[in-house]
């Protein structure tokens, strides 16, 4: 697996050609961990956190993709996409929490017994 960086020409501030990959792989790992927890955890709040972890994984992959540019300035498009994604993620979390509270109030506990 090639994640050793190869030196690029010129600017010392540049991310080496493949150096971004470790971050992208970390993002992928977070995504998988989050997905596993989402399916396995029964506690509703932990499921919401699992979704957040998945989201963070996706955002990390985007940022890593934006890092592989020849100059010192990273690609702004993935950054803007991540900003949008974070806002949507916060909204989703807020909605999920409110809904979990309603479900708990109706049922009495946070472990519904069936998985999503």
């Amino acid at each position: 697996m090639v994640i050793v960086s190869t030196p690029s020409t010129g600017d010392p501030h540049t991310m080496p050609d493949a150096g971004y990959r470790i971050y992208a792989l970390a993002g992928v790992a977070l995504f998988a961990i989050g997905f596993y927890s989402l399916l396995v955890q029964a506690h509703l709040l932990r499921r919401i956190m699992a979704l957040n972890v998945m989201g963070s994984g996706v955002f990390l992959v985007y940022i890593a993709l934006g890092a592989q540019t020849p100059g010192p300035i990273p690609d702004p498009v993935p950054h803007a996409m991540v900003l949008t994604g974070i806002v949507v993620s916060v909204c989703a979390t807020g909605l999920a929490l409110a809904l979990v509270d309603r479900v708990q109030a109706a049922a009495g506990d946070a472990e519904p017994g069936e998985d999503a």
Binding site: L38, V88, A96
Partner: protein, 496 residues
């Protein structure tokens, strides 16, 4: 008025109306009606432009792709917008009286929040059908999902809330799968613009994985077997107009995106094997959904399982439209079926809502004699059932006829068997409900009164579902504009 203006009206009107409906809750009903009117006019205008001048595009903010976002209206988008507008108008009318039928503060609360949420849903759908940018589609998908989940939760019952939470979890995780796929596409191709992706025509492992991720997410959102489990409790426990919106419109959005991805952006990746897998899942959905519908004690659950089955028909489009010879016939057949299902399913759910109001429950075996109480609604249900089964001259028949002919023309006779079986099962569960409705009763039950507009909209949509079969040549002509597949339409059904 240019197409850019039409597109802007289509997206901005419901968005602003939603904001105003939240700021001034009393204006909710009028805002919805006004929006329906504006959208109707805008869709009609856009349709005329597309017929006259072909595919309409607009570069938002003046920047060309891939830097900017492109709005695009071709035959497929316009057809989806027309279907959305038809159902939207019907729901806007139906819901004027639906919530007020119950007299208490909780109903008022539900109505006050229904209107902005409904308008947000409409915004999301219009934005989705006009967008040619896969990241922008993510944002529209999220808006769609949030609105749908919250509308479902408005019912307030424990079953509805649990179903809503399950739907939310599925929706959010599916969106994240989709988003990761978009990221990989950007990493590979440097763009998220659909036409640019189509022009690049790349392939590679990253794109395979990306497409798998996106498809997985979209299939879950479209409730294709085997990821359909969230749908029946959700659609059955929502308030009646919401059930209609969910079945007729919300699940179709992700399906539309799948079409765009596989037929336009990455057609090289759609090997025959992949197409057959889609078809197999669709066939499983048809059979599983129909058989389950047959045994449901509650009317709304029956209708919800019917949705699972009907969505399976749509996925038969993949194996049948991929080829050159029968391609367009299957394409137009599948999409006509989509429109037919939207009208018929809405009519059915609205009818179920009327029955629920009148009788206080929706247990099928206890619905004896409901015809005497709600003749119009039961008639509407029957007409909608006609379209669902696929009886001529309904649009359901037109769609299925085209799909059957396409399957025969390509020698994929196994889909023919599935479709025929599906129609038979549909006939079984429709007749089952009607049989109970038409039985004689000794003591007539005293019903709650139903406002005429509620029965009227259900009937109107059912009539549309039946009559629109005559409009199928026109629909096919519309779909030809910018279609990714070509081919003749052989209405004679000749088998080579």
């Amino acid at each position: 008025m240019t197409s850019a203006w039409a597109m802007a009206w289509l997206i901005l009107t419901p968005l602003v109306a939603a904001a105003l409906a939240f700021a001034f809750p009393r204006l909710g009903r009028s805002l919805a009606l006004g929006t329906a009117g504006v959208i109707g006019l805008a869709v009609a205008h856009l349709m005329r432009l597309v017929f006259a001048n072909g595919v309409q595009t607009h570069l938002v903010s003046g920047w060309g792709a891939p830097l900017g976002i492109e709005l695009r209206a071709d035959g497929l988008s316009v057809l989806m917008l027309i279907v959305t507008a038809l159902i939207g108008v019907a729901i806007a009318l139906y819901s004027q009286r639906y919530f007020v039928s119950e007299h208490d503060d909780e109903a008022l609360h539900r109505e006050r929040y229904f209107w902005p949420l409904f308008l947000f849903l409409w915004t999301a759908l219009d934005a989705l059908y006009l967008s040619a940018d896969i990241f922008n589609l993510y944002v529209t998908l999220e808006m769609l999902g949030f609105a749908a989940v919250t509308l479902l939760a408005l019912a307030g019952t424990r079953a509805a809330l649990t179903a809503a939470l399950r739907y939310l979890f599925v929706s959010l995780s599916a969106s994240l799968f989709y988003l990761l796929g978009v990221g990989l596409v950007y990493g590979q191709c440097g763009t998220v613009d659909l036409p640019s992706l189509a022009a690049q025509a790349r392939s590679g492992p990253a794109l395979w994985v990306a497409l798998a991720l996106m498809t997985g997410g979209l299939i879950a959102k479209a409730a294709l077997f085997p990821l359909h489990g969230w749908l029946p409790p959700a659609h059955a426990n929502a308030p009646a107009p919401v059930s209609a919106l969910l079945s007729a419109l919300v699940v179709k959005g992700p399906f539309y995106i799948l079409l765009r991805l596989w037929f336009e952006a990455f057609p090289a990746l759609m090997t025959p094997a992949v197409a057959q897998v889609f078809g197999a899942l669709g066939a499983a959905a048809i059979l599983w959904g129909s058989v389950n519908a047959l045994f449901q004690p509650r009317l709304k659950l029956l209708i919800a399982y019917s949705t699972v089955a009907q969505l399976g028909y749509l996925f038969l489009l993949f194996p049948l439209a991929a080829s050159r010879e029968g391609g367009f016939m299957a394409w137009s057949g599948g999409l006509m079926l989509l429109g037919a299902h939207a009208c018929a399913k809405t009519a059915m759910f609205l009818t179920a809502g009327n029955i629920l109001h009148a009788a206080g429950h929706d247990r099928i075996k206890d619905l004896d004699g409901i015809t005497h109480v709600l003749p119009v609604s039961v008639f509407a249900f029957g007409l909608a059932g006609m379209s669902l089964i696929g009886l001529p001259p309904s649009s359901g028949f037109a769609g299925k006829w085209l799909l059957l002919n396409a399957a025969l023309a390509q020698g994929q006779w196994w889909w023919v068997a599935v479709m025929i079986l599906g129609s038979l099962l549909a006939a079984a569960y429709i007749v089952r409900m009607l049989a109970h409705a038409f039985t004689r009763v000794n003591e007539p039950k005293t019903p709650n009164p139903i406002p005429p507009v509620m029965e009227g909209t259900a009937l109107a949509l059912a009539l549309l579902a039946v009559v629109l079969g005559f409009a199928s040549p026109w629909a096919a002509e519309l779909l030809r504009v910018g279609a990714p597949v070509v081919g003749p339409i052989v209405m004679g059904g000749s088998v080579p």
